[in-house]
Amino acid sequence: MNLQYIGLNEISGPLVVLDNVEDVGYEEMVEIRLKNGTTRYGRAILISGKKVAIQVFEGTSGMSLTNTKTRFLGHPMQMALSKEILGRTFNGSGHEIDGLGPVFVDEYRDVNGEPLNPVSRVYPRNYIHTGISSIDALTTLIRGQKLPIFSGSGLPHNEIAVQIVKQAKIADQENRNFCIVFAALGVKNDVADYFRRSFEEAGVLEKVAMFLNLANDPIIERILTPRCALTAAEYLAYKHDMHVLVILTDMTSYCEALREFSSSKEEIPGRKGYPGYLYSDLASLYERAGIVRNAKGSVTQIPILTMPNDDITHPIPDLTGYITEGQIVLDRDLHQLGIYPPIGVLPSLSRLMKDGIGAGYTRGDHQALMNQLFASYAKVQDARSLASVIGEDELSDTDQNYIDFGRLFESNFISQGFEENRQIADTLDLGWSLLSLLPRDELDRTDEELLDQFYDHEKAEKFFAIKHKSIIRELDQQEDD
């Protein structure tokens, strides 16, 4: 097994081909030593007779047909794991790069993981408080969920991720079992740095395992990075009963790496040149979030992706949305209005929230409030598009009402400070007072009982100090008469 093969038969993009090889397992790890003393790693991705095609993680530049010695390692890609990985930094293929020496090895695990048996899953139900109103009230994050942030370039997705980490009380000393696995996929160094500093400021750096494949690192390694990160997360969650929050950024770079690799293999492309198996590939990552029976830990994923051209129908956000349990969509218009966090609430969704909110979790009126806020805010969009045609002044009183509601909803509910940590009760009360600005009979998703309890038009008007346009208009008209 430990035969060494000298030289190569073919080099093509990130692939090298070796002939006359025997006894190689599919996806077996390969170690390639170059004459200049460096070592690269790869894996067998196609075996045909005695020919083996090897995907080289670090890329093939500098390799020739004669300057290599190749060894097959007898096992698939593995990662060395122990609890010591917390507080450490690794490259995209799971080797430490912080200069602190190798980690103590408790166990080696195959980075591809095996599919989780659906029978062994526990349906996630525990609400994670993020202190961000639009998330807590409308797209509630649940422990064990995979909830991506769909962003665009230049939008503050990193800030939102950091705010979630800070306010989810991961820093809390009592929550010894919390930890973070952070994977940088093709992002710039300052992004990775920003996260590192933020973790430090939040006092959680000791509880973070970082996996870095930066923009100038090899793309093949990028394909491995989330796999290493998730293997670490599963190890911590299921062996050490920890609640792991995994942040993967930027999934768009990951998919582009996959596309580049696929085209170098001359595979038949699917939509926009991405390989036809992009869905299955992404699923093999995202589905590694969850909770497993008989383990006390959990893996929660917040993948971040930038939508090319802000296009939500682009294959990357599209396929991601088909796999994850909802999405938080950032909106460039809100961002340009100076609203932080610019969360576009209508296209955002948390599929797991219905079982994690309500009496006993958040508050009994949560579900109804959420339905009504969504429905009313959807009408704001109709009123706005009408206003853009006929002018705001020509709108009916009700439509006018919606326009006001929309503005205040955006500036009071969605908008909040980066340091502002809102309690869920405050968030829900705020939601009701905003709804109270609308005529009561417009609230058609809520039953009367709740309205009796929470609807208070006058108080709301005072609270938001509304000068009702309709009143002004009436006055104007009286003057005209």
Binding site: Y238, I268, Y277, Y279, S396, D441
Partner: protein, 583 residues
């Protein structure tokens, strides 16, 4: 004969050189781990096999074992309440024996061979029996009686019957002398190749609806027992919720729920919810009438392709016992993508968007397995198929949606805008259709009321008018419209919000019997008629609007419990009084 050995490995595709004994679609075991696979292409020197499990660590030169059988599913008592992977392996047992993760090369019988079943025979010695005839009965669950049928090739005379009593599935319960004189031993299990439809005596005309308790379905776009429906929609528009709702509430005898390339948590959720929900008639958990097939998105892709056929074969088996079976497949797009992925590995010439040219024929074969049938043993049974479609970019012009549209007769188009506004079920009433209305008219007239379809027509007309008026409203607002048109808009809103929209999480609203659907339509249309006369008498619409009567009608779905339909009478009185009071 020389041993067959693996020559090449490329993901789930493995080839063998110079093999002769394999036949197309034969099941094989691949490698030292005996991974399950299927022969999908044979040429003179190369046999291509798709492997249903991960091939990681498999080596060239390892053996490939022939089985001489096509890939089959095991049929017999114990299927219900179970959850299988795409190739029929029992996931609960795998969890118990192998832990949380599914390793490759696990071999476990689909049905528990140690369970004992109380068997009652309904045939006697010397009876002549044929394929499909029912020989014995078992109470498989409190809801479903399992009827043991004569397997294919066992036509002949019963020469020995075991006494009534308890038996395990592999025990011999009968001996049958077939025409050649050979005596065959019959047990309670049989195998059936998943890609071959089970035969029936004949196809019967469609005539009975599959009642779902979902208003937009039952009223606007009804599905028939033995029919087919496609549910396309972008992510998060409610395909899975729809499938779950139908699986919970539809009036089929039995449900086969196939999670094909979708989320693991959704299967967990279905398992949990279905075991807690009680069948209203028998007070038994819904799992008693359900079998789950789960090949989630992270499970091997070739087995995803098989999962659809495994589910269908199980459905047909119970149909043959005389049951009405509903099959939910979520999502057929993932199955189509599995075809595409395998086809790509084979370097076949792709047609549209990389899908193989045989995609349309595969989709049509799939939906053709639905139908209202007379079974070989003379009973009636049906298989209804409801397939979710996940179009890329929510664009319905892509190949899977388009081809599905060609082969289904009920099309429930889910709409992103409706879902954004949290109008669920987000079925777009302008894009959706059902071709079953004509077939079902008699049934509705006889079993519900002659008014039902009349009301339906009135509602469809109002919605169509609203659709036209909205073009104008979008440009100039609704204030300038004449009163009768504003009434159409307001009535349509009542129809949309008060009737079509249905809250799956609300105790009363999650399932609504046809009688209540009828009464709700009656009330809305009565309000429309009364208001219209008032307007014709010269009363201003705004006066009617200001009474809040529309709001009250919209909320009736929550106010009137499913078993207190007499409460609707109050609504007619209320409408009369309200309109009367307007001067």
């Amino acid at each position: 004969m020389s041993e067959n050995k693996i020559f090449s490995i490329n993901g789930p595709v493995v080839t063998v050189r110079n093999a002769t004994e394999f036949s197309m679609l034969e099941m094989v075991y691949v490698g030292n781990n005996k991974l399950m696979g299927e022969v999908i292409q044979i040429s003179k020197d190369t046999t291509i096999i798709q492997v249903y499990e991960s091939t990681t660590s498999t080596k060239v030169g390892e053996p490939v074992y022939s089985t001489g059988q096509p890939i089959s599913v095991t049929l017999g008592p114990g299927i219900l309440r179970n959850i299988y992977d795409g190739i029929g392996r029992p996931l609960k047992t795998i969890y118990e024996t192998h832990g949380a993760f599914i390793a490759s090369g696990i071999h476990i019988e689909s049905l528990d061979p140690t369970l004992e079943w109380e068997v009652n025979f309904i045939r006697k010695v010397h009876d002549n029996v044929g394929f499909g005839d029912i020989v014995a009965k078992i109470q498989e669950t409190d809801l479903i009686e399992h009827r043991i049928m004569v397997p294919k090739g066992f036509d002949g005379e019963i020469i020995e019957l075991a006494p009534a009593g308890k038996y395990k599935i592999h025990d011999v319960i009968a001996k049958i002398k077939i025409s050649t004189g050979e005596i065959l031993e019959m047990t309670m299990v049989q195998k059936w190749p998943i890609k071959t439809p089970r035969p029936v005596s004949r196809r019967l005309p469609i005539s009975i609806p599959l009642v779902t308790g979902q208003r937009v379905v039952d009223t606007l776009f009804p599905l028939a027992k033995g029919g087919t429906a496609g549910v396309p929609g972008g992510f998060g528009t409610g395909k899975t919720m729809m499938q779950h709702q139908l699986a919970k509430w539809c009036d089929a005898d039995l449900i086969v729920y196939i999670g094909c390339g979708e989320r693991g948590n959704e299967m967990t959720q279905a398992l949990e919810e279905f075991s807690q929900l009680k069948d209203p008639k028998t007070n038994r958990p819904l799992t008693d009438r359900t079998v789950f097939i789960a090949n989630t998105s992270n499970m091997p892709v070739a087995a995803r392709e098989a999962s659809i056929y495994t589910g269908l074969t199980i459905a047909e088996y119970y149909r043959d016992m005389g049951y009405h079976v509903a099959v939910m497949a979520d999502s057929t797009s993932r199955w189509a993508e599995a075809l595409r992925e395998i086809s790509g590995r084979l370097e076949e010439m792709p047609a549209e968007e990389g899908f193989p040219a045989y995609l349309p024929s595969r989709i049509s074969q799939f939906y053709e397995r639905a139908g209202y049938m007379e079974t070989l043993n003379g009973q009636t049974g049906s298989v209804t198929i409801i397939g979710a479609v996940s179009p890329q970019g929510a664009d319905f012009s892509e190949p899977v949606t388009q081809n599905t549209k060609r082969f289904v007769r009920c099309f429930w188009a889910l709409d992103k805008q409706l879902a954004y506004a949290r109008h669920y079920a987000a079925i777009n009433w302008n894009l959706s259709y059902s071709e079953y209305i004509g077939d079902l008219e008699k049934w509705y007239n006889k079993n519900v009321d002659i008014r039902f379809l009349k009301n339906r027509r009135a509602i469809v007309k109002l919605l169509a008018e609203e659709n036209k008026l909205m073009e104008i409203v979008k440009l100039i607002g609704s204030d300038v419209l004449p009163d009768d048109q504003r009434l159409v808009l307001e009535t349509s809103r009542a129809i949309r919000v008060g009737f079509l929209q249905q809250n799956a999480f609300h105790k009363e609203d999650t399932f609504v019997p046809l009688a209540k659907q009828l009464r709700m339509m009656d009330v809305i249309l009565y309000l429309y008629q009364k208001s219209l006369s008032a307007i014709h008498e010269g009363k201003a619409f705004s006066l009617i609007e200001n009474t809040n009567i529309f709001e009250k009608v919209i909320k009736m779905k929550y106010e009137v419990p499913n078993d207190k339909l007499e409460m609707f009478d109050d609504y007619f009185t209320l409408i009369d009084e309200t309109i009367y009071q307007i001067r």
